[in-house]
């Protein structure tokens, strides 16, 4: 564990240039330069999330997925832009319950993700976690957590373990604009900054926490500023453009990997669907949602850019078709896999069975 700030650092004036330096770097040149192939890959990954989520919504409607299911539609650029910048052999990721997209961003087999949603034995958590609780040790993905905000402190612990092991890894800890009002988030900010932990805190600001808009729940709605009191540099990022997200990610990661302690990124984004599958969405207008879809969609944006760069519409249609087929296969798998054995109810509670 490194020491906290030196006395001079701590006193270094109320003018908080260091806290804005990452933002300035990002603003100077906010878009990542992606090769044609790279951009196509981002497009493909975002589209996979979108189609997967649409299918999950359908399966929910058919009663094949029960309980709680939160879709990531609209927010695809965030997970893809950030996670594409990670070193997957070293870095860890943790998030809340809106986690399908983060799993897919790793290239994890959609079959086992969908089978987790339907609660089947073949699911990635043997049907024990469901939509909100998914994990992958192979990818250092630490979940999938249903309790709002709790994952942020766990992320602090992952970062501390990276630092302790000196393994060069960092932790990416996602949370929502609503989760940003949990007290433990700020306990974690303080520890992370005090101990210079290698962590990127990511607020996915989709403007609502269930039916509550940020303005109705938050005294400070510019979430990237909320690290200031802990001397954590903030970044305000357009989360609807995968290239801007990726650009900001590179800057944040370089800072954290350099041993400079945490960064707080706010990714401004929007969820198109209800909070979960049972949300009447009376707290916002249809026009608002439609406006975002029409003018701000991250997938449409990437598509337009690909076409400008010379990709044919036919090519892109073929990709969509391929992805739809992939997702349909995942749905078939998830429907036809068996349920867990009743004896599974009693396993994995403790090391042994008592």
């Amino acid at each position: 564990m490194t020491d906290g700030p030196t006395e001079t650092e701590a006193r270094s004036g109320s003018e908080d240039m260091p806290l804005r330096s990452l933002q300035n770097a990002h603003d100077e040149s906010p878009r990542y330069y992606a090769s044609d192939d790279e951009l196509l890959e981002f497009y493909r990954q975002m589209l996979l999330i979108r189609r997967f989520e649409e299918k999950a919504g359908q399966l929910y409607g058919l009663g094949l997925i029960g309980g709680f299911c939160h879709l990531y539609i609209g927010q695809e650029a965030v997970a893809i832009g950030l996670q594409s910048a990670l070193d997957n052999d070293k870095d860890s990721v943790i998030t809340g319950y809106r986690d399908h997209g983060h799993m897919l961003a790793y290239g994890i087999d959609p079959n086992v993700i969908m089978a987790e949603l339907t609660g089947r034995q073949a699911g990635i958590s043997k049907g024990k976690g469901g939509s909100m609780h998914m994990f992958s040790t192979e990818h250092k993905f630490y979940g999938g957590h249903g309790i709002v905000g709790a994952q942020v402190a766990l992320g602090g612990g992952l970062a501390l373990a990276h630092q302790y092991r000196e393994d060069g890894g960092i932790c990416l800890a996602y949370f929502g604009d609503g989760a940003a009002n949990q007290g433990q988030v700020y306990e974690t900010f303080n520890m992370a900054s005090l101990w210079k932990l290698p962590i990127v805190f990511v607020v996915e600001n989709n403007q609502y926490a269930m039916g509550t808009s940020t303005a109705r729940s938050s005294a400070e709605t510019e979430f990237y500023k909320r690290g200031t009191a802990f001397r954590i540099p903030g970044m305000d990022v357009n989360g609807m453009d995968v290239l801007e997200v990726r650009n900001a990610a590179e800057i944040a990661l370089a800072h954290v990997r350099g041993g400079n302690g945490p960064v707080l990124m706010e990714l401004n984004t929007y969820r198109y669907r209800g909070h979960s599958m049972s949300d009447p969405a009376k707290y916002r207008t249809r026009d608002e949602v439609q406006g975002q879809r029409e003018h701000n969609d991250p997938i449409e944006k990437a598509k337009k850019e690909l076409i400008e760069r010379g990709r044919s519409e036919d090519d892109l249609r073929a990709i969509d078709k391929e992805i739809r087929a992939r997702v349909a296969e995942a749905a078939d798998f998830a429907e036809s896999s068996p349920e867990p054995e009743p004896s599974e109810l009693h396993t994995d509670v403790l090391v042994g069975t008592y």
Binding site: F68, G130, H133, G149, N181, M210, R216, L345, H346
Partner: protein, 361 residues
Amino acid sequence: MTVETQKTAASEKAAGKKGVGADGERRLNMIDAINDALDIMLDRDPNVVVMGEDVGYFGGVFRCTAGLQEKHGKTRVFDTPISECGIIGVAVGMGAYGLRPVPEIQFADYIYPGLDQLISEAARLRYRSAAEYIAPMTVRSPFGGGIFGGQTHSQSPEAIFSHVSGLKTVIPSNPYDAKGLLIASIEDNDPVIFFEPKRIYNGPFNGYYDKPVEPWKKHAQSIVPEGHYRVELGKARKVTEGDELTVLAYGTMVHVAEAVCAAKGVNAEILDLRTIVPLDIEAIEASVKKTGRCLIVHEATRTSGFGAELSALVTERCFYHLEAAVERVTGFDTPYPHSLEWAYFPGPVRIGEAIDKILSE
């Protein structure tokens, strides 16, 4: 029902009001009964304040607070950020200063961040200050399973609270009680944890999950008089009178136990405990001494569940009257599962087996 309330219900019928059936009775589901209690208390007592995540503008995720902000204004009924520790802590302070806050914790599973404030502050303020200060708050929270909520939306943590001296814990099983118990809880000068079994908000689910649930309006306990009335804390309700065995239950499990006993033709005396702290031990003792057999049913996990306390009390007080060992049917000692909910839920099969066992001894 008193003559007066019958008149009111009848006049409601004439006015074509919500919930009034052909018989002139006002019938509500649990959500509307809870809403009614909050509305009445907001009207009667300016110190009552309703707060919580999405309770104001949105009217609550289960609609229990629908329309209250519109009617009583934003200073009386308001939204909070997602900050359970803060919500409960602030309510303790409000209570100490003389208000009567009714915070909602959206699901019982989210109450844990607030445990420090509940246990170390709310439950101890009266004792610590030798009753100079109190925490007259009522924490409402939907709890229990049967809704495919998995591990973070299905738990029944009542025994955590009954274990803490200084808190009262209330669990209604029907609309009439929900209203009367909530009013009594809000008027009570102690901190009350008010757990609402969410599976029965819209109908008395009886554990036969493959059959349709009847709506509340067919159930006698859905007759909810208008206006203020209390159901006193610490008084059990005799659901059925019987002499073969006593069944102790609360919340959803009251309906499950009742359905199983009816299906088996067992002449059971079912007690709906309504409140576990304070507990109506007199009613329990009298019943078990009469029947000589006792079955305890709850959804919560078994080890250190409230059934353990009940079993100990029954054994201490009724030992020489018991003709069979006290039995418990409970959730398994595991997290609440995502798949296999009905294998986990302590439903008709397990209750039936326990009844057979008790009666065969």
